[in-house]
């Protein structure tokens, strides 16, 4: 007969009460783990979205993040092809990098003069094949792939806009975008122009008819003009053939985003094809970020003497990510505290009742020579057994619910993503969640038994024996 066996038997003595306590723990533990798994899902989904579109690391000219957006022509990376080739020569980096691609970030005014519309834009010039390759990154197996860009490497004059931008520039009907309508054009009627009106209406209905026929066969591309300032401050204009509109993750971006081929963006901003705003690096695994960032910083310093760079990770160039994650972590901690309190009071109640029922037994054991500390340990052990049983069963129940839930096919759009993907509870992505929750619940139950255990051990032997 060891103490553990005795603790288990004492708990079984009042089976219903012990089971109720363990059941409360199982519910609490399951709620905590499922929410933790959901946060893991948000973390993975959000990270996947960012990594697919923006990569893990960005190489900028020093100071770009602070001042570059206002003066992109002062903060650029020169001779980028040589730098990419240097990076690819390093074995450490080569083993870790999946994609390294240049990007030009720009802003200006976009105009569709045929529709009498113009709008400020922000945009980027990319190499479409590299961006498409980045869009397939799926470390966590979420099946959350980005839709490939409609533009390709061979045609440098094509571009894609946000759906909101398409509306504002009057591109919806031409590009046949679902749920997208161009701004209505008001026809101003004048008394002397009735004949002209009739002609306009006739032409308009003819145009509509033609558009209808064309939409049935194929989409049209629409030429827009992009105006931006070059390094010298002079305005520069390029034409872009918009072939598609793509929904962006937030309205501000959706209303102003233009994606184009890198060459076209370079032509507009730098008038030079060797300069880019930054280099985007996507790693094979997110765990490689810190070591790669440190190595890359040192490597660039040692091997590229003419320019000074800064290497930023996605948490640094996309501060929203950790704000969102931190918010969920705070909610998780709050819920964990609430559940811990419930478990604490339930266990205290159960063990206090157990002590009250066993007063004479405690007195007898003390009379037989059991030390106070041994009595205390006995009740602490009973609390720990409740904790271990509740936490372990909680993990088992959580696993079962997770397996069923993940097979159920629920889908959602994680924050920062447009496309919906399977909603999964990622219980096993973060082993610390399972281990941490198990330790927390066991600790809470054990700590809960401190008070009843102390009461039991401090009991006066004579009074305890009399209590029959």
């Amino acid at each position: 007969m060891n103490n553990l066996k005795l603790a288990v038997r004492n708990l079984i003595r009042n089976r219903r009460r012990s089971l109720t306590t363990i059941f409360a723990m199982v519910i609490g533990m399951t709620a905590l783990l499922l929410f933790g798994g959901f946060i893991s899902s948000i973390y993975s989904g959000l990270q996947t979205g960012i990594v697919q579109t923006q990569g893990h690391l960005h190489i900028y000219k020093e100071g770009y993040l602070e001042f570059g957006p206002s003066r992109p022509t002062d903060y650029y990376i020169d001779d980028y092809e040589n730098i990419i080739s240097q990076i690819n020569k390093d074995d450490f980096l080569k083993q870790r990098i999946k994609v390294i691609t240049p990007v030009v970030n720009l802003a200006g005014i976009a105009g569709n003069y045929s529709a009498d519309s113009s709008k400020t834009f922000i945009g980027s010039g990319v190499i479409p094949s590299d961006k498409n390759k980045m869009g397939t990154w799926d470390q966590y197996g979420l099946g959350q792939n980005q839709k490939p860009l409609s533009i390709n490497d061979n045609n440098t004059t094509q571009g894609v806009v946000g759906v909101g931008m398409a509306k504002m520039l009057g591109l919806c009907e031409s590009l046949i975008i679902p749920d997208c309508k161009d701004r209505p054009v008001e026809i101003v009627k004048g008394k002397k122009d009735e004949e002209v009106d009739e002609q306009v209406l006739a032409l308009s209905s003819l145009l509509e008819e033609e558009n209808q026929q064309e939409s049935d066969s194929k989409k049209k591309s629409v030429q827009i003009d992009l105006l931006a300032s070059t390094g010298s401050g002079a305005p520069n204009v390029v034409s872009l053939s918009i072939i598609n509109a793509r929904k962006m993750p937030n309205k501000v971006l959706d209303d102003s985003y233009v994606t184009m081929h890198l060459t076209q963006a370079q032509k507009l901003v730098f008038a030079d094809d060797s300069r880019v705003s930054s280099l985007i690096i996507q790693l094979k695994k997110s765990e490689m970020i810190k070591e790669t960032q440190a190595h890359l910083s040192k490597y660039l310093k040692a091997n590229v003497k003419k320019q000074t760079f800064e290497v930023k990770n996605y948490g640094e160039f996309n501060t929203e990510f950790f704000q969102i994650i931190d918010m969920f972590i705070v909610i998780f901690i709050f819920i964990a505290l609430m559940i811990s309190l419930v478990v604490l009071f339930t266990t205290v109640n159960t063990l206090t009742m157990s002590v009250m029922e066993r007063i004479s037994e405690i007195g007898s054991l003390r009379a037989m020579g059991l030390r106070r500390s041994a009595v205390r340990w006995q009740f602490l052990l009973e609390g720990a057994v409740i904790g271990v049983a509740g936490a372990t069963l909680g993990i088992i129940v959580s696993i079962i619910i997770t397996l069923v839930f993940n097979q159920s096919g629920f889908s959602w759009s994680p924050p920062g993503s447009v496309d919906s993907s399977n909603l999964k509870i990622l219980l096993f992505t973060n082993p610390l969640l399972l281990i941490g929750a198990w330790i927390l619940m066991t600790m809470v139950a054990t700590v809960s038994s401190l008070l009843p255990a102390r009461y039991a051990s401090k009991m006066n032997i004579v009074n305890a024996i009399r209590n029959n």
């Binding site: 038997r9 007195g363 007898s364 009379a367 037989m368 059991l370």
Partner: protein, 236 residues
């Protein structure tokens, strides 16, 4: 320890309980010497102080004043842990309500004091088997207290007290909850055990019938010893 050494010695011992502002003098100037291997009874009316005296002798309570030694140890000077260890090693207890652990079998209840003494498993098994056989409960060793009769439970309690081979066993009205036949059987059992294991027994009781087995009868009244009668034990 030689036989001529006293089992317990009380010199002018008092015990006062304070409940709020009310002081209750349970023992008033007790002077008593108890010898080894005696079968002693403490008798007296309810509230006379016999249980308090028994508690002191069992080292589960300490006197308010006076000198009190058990097996030549000054009890008042011992810490709580030392007292627990002392009880564990030298004193066995038999309670009126048996106070067996409900979740343990008869065997495990008897084994428990040996676990406290960290006796090796093999020796524990031998000693528990022997004592259970002696009290006639070997065949019922796997039964839990709830599955045993009152008499059987008290036999387990006797075995539990004896298994650690203490020098002193205290029994607080051990036959009070038993019918006279079973009570008599339990007393006989204790007498037999005493003669086999040379253990000193001190009882508190109201039962005049069981007193005939005593070597010594200590009569206590209003917290004072009224009489100590040394006598030859009646044959069983």
């Amino acid at each position: 320890m030689p036989l001529d050494h006293a089992l317990a010695e009380l010199q002018d011992v008092t015990k006062v309980y304070q409940t709020g502002e009310v002081k209750v003098e349970a023992l008033r100037g007790i002077n008593l010497i108890l010898k080894r291997q005696e079968f002693s009874f403490i008798v007296g009316p309810s509230g006379s102080g016999k249980t308090t005296l028994l508690n002191l002798l069992g080292c589960i309570d300490v006197p308010t004043s006076g000198k009190f030694t058990v097996l030549e140890r000054e009890i008042s000077t011992l810490t709580d842990n030392q007292l627990a260890d002392f009880r564990n090693k030298h004193i066995g207890y038999i309670f009126q309500n048996y106070n067996l652990m409900a979740v343990l079998s008869a065997y495990e209840n008897v084994e428990y004091p040996l676990l406290l003494q960290k006796i090796p498993k093999r020796e524990r098994h031998d000693r528990v088997t022997e004592i259970l056989d002696s009290v006639g409960l070997f065949k019922r060793k796997h039964h839990r207290p709830a599955q045993l009769s009152g008499g059987e439970q008290q036999r387990v309690a006797v075995a539990r007290a004896l298994v650690k081979r203490p020098e002193l066993i205290l029994a607080d009205e051990p036959t009070a909850n038993l019918d006279s036949k079973t009570g008599s059987e339990i007393i006989d059992l204790m007498l037999e055990m005493q003669s086999r294991y040379k253990t000193s027994f001190i009882f508190s009781t109201h039962d005049t019938e069981v007193m005939q087995h005593a070597n010594k009868i200590i009569t206590i009244k209003d917290g004072k010893i009224e009489n100590v009668a040394q006598k030859e034990r009646a044959s069983t």
